[in-house]
């Protein structure tokens, strides 16, 4: 969260970065509040947790490695359909193993796609990700026999977690489960960005030409983080299928790719928690505004985005971090 100080040795800096701050502890305590304060919002809370995990996956490549993507729903959707097809076509609905499968499938495709991704930069990079995203969407639509097409995949049913916890109407199970997976996802991501590998990625983001000069194989680093990010996005997608028992083409849509980037920038890039804060603000605002005004809520969302850029150019979390860091 702070810039690298010239005089500190890298490993000292990394060690300091990986220490848990009070804010993080308080934040995770706060995520338990919905259980007590608004138990009727748990389904929304679980979808926010899923969006946050998806946004973290994008932050890993966008915030830490500088890969701007407008097609990450490809991996989210792959995960969602993996879980869905496993259940609907093969009758396997065990949640934990399905989720691992979703991550594996999305990660594999991400690994293959990463060979294309590292070849391009800037606008071309954005457009290649966008193109891949659309190809995924159109492919799923064309394979209606497998995916159910626009009607969505029918017959998905998720078994009880550990054979004990049923997905209930109120969303207690769904939120608990999503929250645990989100926490684990953050833990993994946090470890990655605070490792020497994470440091190398930041180096690539800052100056792609200099890294090979200091002996860092930057395209291998990029491929690795892209694969990890794809797997994480796939897990988020799988989670959505499991908590809703539905999969539709919208999991692969451009809209979803664009929304997640909006959430991430809104919260602040390159801080992991920005992804979570962005998802919370965006989806809570959307839910509340749409409740008041289902037809024009996006006017206010649009205004919110514009105001954030004008007054908080580092995202909402970046804006608040400024005060914190000054004190600390």
């Amino acid at each position: 969260m702070t810039t690298l100080n010239r005089t500190t040795a890298p490993h000292t800096w990394l060690a300091r970065q990986s220490r848990w701050s009070w804010f993080e502890v308080a934040f995770w305590m706060a995520t338990l509040l919905p259980f007590f304060l608004f138990p009727t919002y748990l389904t929304l809370a679980s979808q926010i947790a899923i969006a946050a995990l998806f946004a973290i996956s994008v932050d890993l490549i966008l915030g830490y490695a500088g890969i701007v993507t407008l097609g990450h729903a490809l991996f989210f959707g792959l995960g969602a359909y993996s879980v869905g097809l496993l259940s609907a076509r093969l009758g396997w609905g065990e949640p934990i193993s399905s989720l691992a499968f979703a991550g594996l499938v999305a990660g594999l495709v991400g690994f293959v796609a990463s060979y294309l991704i590292v070849r391009v930069q800037h606008l071309a990079l954005i457009m290649v990700t966008l193109g891949l995203g659309f190809l995924g969407y159109e492919l799923a639509n064309a394979m209606t026999w497998l995916t159910g097409g626009t009607d969505g995949l029918r017959g998905v049913s998720t078994w009880q977690i550990f054979g004990t916890f049923r997905f209930d109407l109120w969303g207690y199970t769904a939120y608990t489960y999503s929250l645990v997976v989100l926490f684990l996802g953050l833990l993994v991501s946090r470890t990655i960005v605070n490792s020497s590998f994470g440091l190398a990625l930041r180096g690539i983001r800052e100056n792609v030409k200099r890294m090979p000069a200091i002996g860092s194989d930057h395209s291998w680093h990029l491929r690795k983080i892209y694969t990890i990010s794809a797997a994480l996005a796939g897990i988020a997608g799988g989670l959505l299928t499991q908590t809703t028992n539905t999969v539709g083409l919208d999991v692969l849509s451009f809209q979803r790719s664009a929304d997640v980037v909006v959430m991430l920038i809104l919260g602040g890039t390159g801080r992991l928690y920005g992804a979570i804060v962005g998802a919370i603000i965006f989806l809570v605002a959307r839910d509340q505004l749409a409740g008041v005004n289902p037809q024009y809520w996006y006017f206010w969302i649009g205004l919110l985005l514009m105001l954030v850029v004008l007054f908080m150019p580092k995202g909402i979390l970046g804006f608040f971090a400024r005060f914190v860091e000054r004190r600390g």
């Binding site: 071309a124 290649v128 024009y296 006017f299 514009m306 954030v308 850029v309």
Partner: protein, 286 residues
Amino acid sequence: MTNIVIVLFDGFAFGMLLFVLSVGLSVTLGMMNFINLAHGAFGMLGGYVTVLVMRQFGLPFILALPVAFLAAALASIVIERTLFRRLYRAGELNQVLFTIGMVFVATAAATYFFGTVQQPIRLPAWLRGTVEIGGIRFGTYRLFLIAIALAITALLVFGIERTRLGAQIRAAVDNQRVAQGLGLNVEQIFGITFALGSGLAGLGGALAIEIVGLDPSFAFHYLVYVLIVVSVGGLGSITGSFVGAALLGIGDVAGKYFVPEIGSFLIYLILVAVLLWRPLGLFGRR
């Protein structure tokens, strides 16, 4: 044989529509690196202005076109002066977020004022129907589209190559810092270019109604097409946008005709293939 001519013709006409919609973004993106995802919103504005002046004031279609151009250009000047100017140094992510926010606002405004309904227009009789040339029937309106796009291309190429402003624009696209150092007012040049580009988008929006219709989702829907044209053609290049748009239009229509099974994938395949082969686009230089 006739089929191939017809398919090429239709694809080219569709490509020309994409060209008018996107050429402005290519030049402004190439010059200032300003990512304006609200470009399609100016197209939508042009479309709604056309509908409004034709219905309310009974203006003929052909006169509504310049009004659409002016309206979009004027709106862009105001927005550039008051808002975009603050964002040139704000970084691309902030530009993306801000302009997406603008698209949301524009879509909501269009819904509020015009409703969600499709806005049909009645073309004058001379633009409807078909014209027979050499035994093949061509859509009159598509011929008209191609004529307008060619005229715009000629004007732009002439303007960029031969006029003083054109030279300044070229200098600013090539190297903004040096151009500034030579005493050019880059911000002002950019403002003018931006207005021109948005005006063309407005004109494109007006021309598009007949082919693809107009409703509040226009700004988002065509954003994707515009971005594809710009990236395939290469930033800052008029020729690039022209070729990119033509390629895309023809590829799209021909693909759907000859291999309808993969018709909907084809433009994305072209996009990815071209960019992997030439990451700067067909005519991009930087």
